[in-house]
């Protein structure tokens, strides 16, 4: 057991294959999972993608971004337009229901296009604004998030403030869990490389990083664009899971929720951030019965978490189980 888990770490591609295998099994053999649980797993997987991708920007590269939900919106609307309007118009003779083979086959390129458009948006915001530091960057990203929301509210062809409904329910366990695994893998593979240490070098000391030949603006923009790409994919998965999207669903609070996951998981710890994303998803579900007191309790629990920092306290324990974080041998 110990050995096999070690092999998975040594050969990350094996880990990736194993994860995707799990996704396939869940999809094929998961008939016994009830629809509610399925829904929760989908949300958890989508939150993992969002949190782990934001972690690259905030945790690894140290750039404070307040518009992750906006990138998610770009991906969600782009992919919903593709499956709702573009594809059925271009290929009218195919059957476009959630589980039809056509929608499943085309779902991958649709998600990738959604992610790419979000990445382009990331490039447009990040290119000029990542020369700024700290609070200025936070303000620019906050502004961008609002711009996207207001634009969507006023765009009638996507339903304006009413939103888009009747989106193809193409998201299933395979796509959601598969992409979550792929995202976590990509982030870990990226960070555990000479190339990836550049993100951390920029976070630790931009002046020193530049003096060592690292193009710091480029590193920051790269992190931002990759983060936006995966947020866009998550948006696509989300839209095709809930079948209804509206601009309000991607507001500042949504961005903030993702930030909380990243901080709780321990900035710069992809695995910890993924765990935090799952826990917060579950927390949201458990608190549903409390109706109007939900946000009060939610906020209290988050405050407690922040004070206790379970990720910090559990790290020595986790490092025995989780990959590559052995305490330095002396």
């Amino acid at each position: 057991m110990f050995h096999s888990s070690k092999a998975l770490i040594r050969n990350p591609r094996l880990a990736l294959a194993a994860g995707i295998g799990v996704a396939v099994l869940l999809q094929l053999g998961g008939g016994w999972i009830d629809p509610y649980t399925t829904q929760v797993v989908l949300f958890a997987a989508i939150n993992v993608i969002l949190a782990v991708s934001l972690n690259l920007v905030m945790g690894e590269t140290g750039q404070f971004s307040l518009c992750h939900a906006a990138f998610m919106a770009v991906g969600a609307y782009t992919s919903a337009l593709l499956t709702g309007k573009a594809l059925p118009t271009l290929l009218p003779h195919l059957s476009w229901t959630g589980s039809s083979w056509a929608s499943q086959v085309f779902f991958l390129p649709v998600l990738l296009v959604g992610g790419s458009v979000a990445a382009l948006a990331g490039l447009i915001v990040g290119g000029p604004s990542l020369r700024l530091r700290g609070d200025y960057l936070a303000m620019v990203t906050l502004g961008f998030g609002e711009i996207i929301r207001v634009l969507l509210q006023n765009a009638n062809f996507v339903g304006g403030a009413r939103g888009m409904e009747g989106i193809l329910p193409a998201t299933n366990l395979f796509w959601a869990v598969g992409f979550a695994v792929l995202t976590v893998y990509t982030m870990i593979a990226l960070v555990r490389s000479t190339y990836g240490r550049g993100f951390q070098a920029v976070r630790d000391d931009e002046i020193a990083a530049a003096a060592m030949g690292i193009d710091t603006t480029r590193v920051k923009v790269t992190a931002f664009v990759i983060g936006a790409f995966f947020a866009g994919v998550a948006g696509g998965l989300y839209a095709h899971a809930v079948e209804f999207i509206s601009p309000e669903g991607f507001n500042f609070l949504r961005s903030f929720e993702i930030i909380v996951m990243v901080i709780l998981g321990g900035l710069g710890r992809p695995v910890g951030v993924a765990i935090a994303a799952i826990l917060i998803t579950l927390l949201n579900e458990w608190l549903r019965d409390l109706s109007q007191y939900r946000m009060v309790v939610y906020a209290l629990i988050i405050i407690l978490f922040m004070i206790l920092r379970p990720a910090e306290t559990l790290r020595p324990l986790l490092s025995r189980v989780l990959p590559g974080r052995k305490p330095a041998a002396s």
């Binding site: 990350p12 591609r13 990509t186 593979a189 990226l190 490389s193 000479t194 190339y195 990836g196 240490r197 550049g198 951390q200 070098a201 976070r203 630790d204 000391d205 002046i207 020193a208 990083a209 530049a210 003096a211 060592m212 030949g213 690292i214 193009d215 710091t216 790269t222 990759i226 710069g268 330095a328 041998a329």
Partner: protein, 264 residues
């Protein structure tokens, strides 16, 4: 003074002003390949400002900087580094969250050939590149006696080792000119002696010119073959340590006080 060829670095009539304050006024400087030049001057003389315009942190308000005859004035710091200029910092600037070997590895990032996809795919180029980088990093750390510390967090190193690691990190970018900003600051006499030997070895082994800012006269006088003296942002004197030591202007501005301190 030296060979007739193009100098490695040439600063021509550089000035740096912040609003009404002149940090540097009309400073010219020439460094030839392989030279070891000391830059001295009282506090606030503009030594670090000169470093900062040479490495692109600031753009000189006036004047021009040439590296091997090519103008690099106002280029971004990372571009200047690619032209072969590396530096250390007066207040140590290691990457605090990275361990010792990762600190050195960051210096190879600018030279990576494989792109992002190659990294994520863990492709062939990626693997051979990582192997080369690991190997070269290990060799450098071993050469400077830091190999045993290689997986320790850089912050946990003793002060002298942190300074040494900064030098290793700078050397890993394969510079032709190494700028050392007060490397002996905060070191005890033994560490200072080791540092002097280290600088001599770096020159011999890595065939790089060195520009050294230092307050400690014993260090500077002992190893530099040429000194440049700055005072209040302007060039005061330049010459061999003996010449500079004898220069009345220098004694008045700087060395006089220093000698007095040493004798007391």
């Amino acid at each position: 003074m030296t060979s007739a060829g193009t100098p490695l670095l040439e600063a021509r009539n550089c000035s740096l002003r912040f609003g009404g304050i002149a940090a540097l006024t009309d400073v010219s400087l020439r460094i030839d390949a392989g030279e070891l030049v000391g830059l001295i001057g009282p506090n606030g003389a503009g030594k670090t400002s000169l470093f900062n315009i040479l490495t692109g942190v600031y753009r000189p308000t006036e004047g021009e900087i040439l590296l091997e005859g090519r103008p690099v004035t106002g280029l971004a710091p990372h571009r200047i580094n690619r032209f072969g200029v590396a530096r250390t910092f007066q207040n140590i600037r290691l990457f605090g969250s990275l361990d010792v070997r990762m600190n050195v590895r960051t210096s190879f990032i600018a030279r990576l050939r494989g792109g992002l996809l190659e990294v994520v795919r863990r492709g062939k180029t990626f693997r051979s590149e990582e192997r080369e980088i690991q190997e070269e990093g290990r060799r450098l750390l071993a050469y400077f006696g830091l190999e045993e510390a290689s997986i320790l967090p850089s912050r946990s190193l003793p002060y002298g080792d942190q300074r040494r690691l900064e030098i290793v990190r700078a050397l890993a970018t394969r510079p032709r000119l190494l700028l050392l900003d007060e490397p002996a600051a905060g070191m005890n006499p033994t560490e200072k002696e080791e540092l002097k030997q280290l600088i001599a070895r770096i020159r011999a082994e890595f065939s790089t010119a060195i520009l050294l800012v230092e307050h400690d006269m014993k260090v500077v006088m002992g190893i530099c073959e040429r000194l440049v003296v700055l005072d209040r942002g302007a060039l005061l004197a330049t010459g061999t340590p003996a010449e500079v030591r004898a220069d009345p202007k220098v004694i008045a501005a700087y060395l006089g006080e220093e000698h007095g301190e040493e004798e007391s």
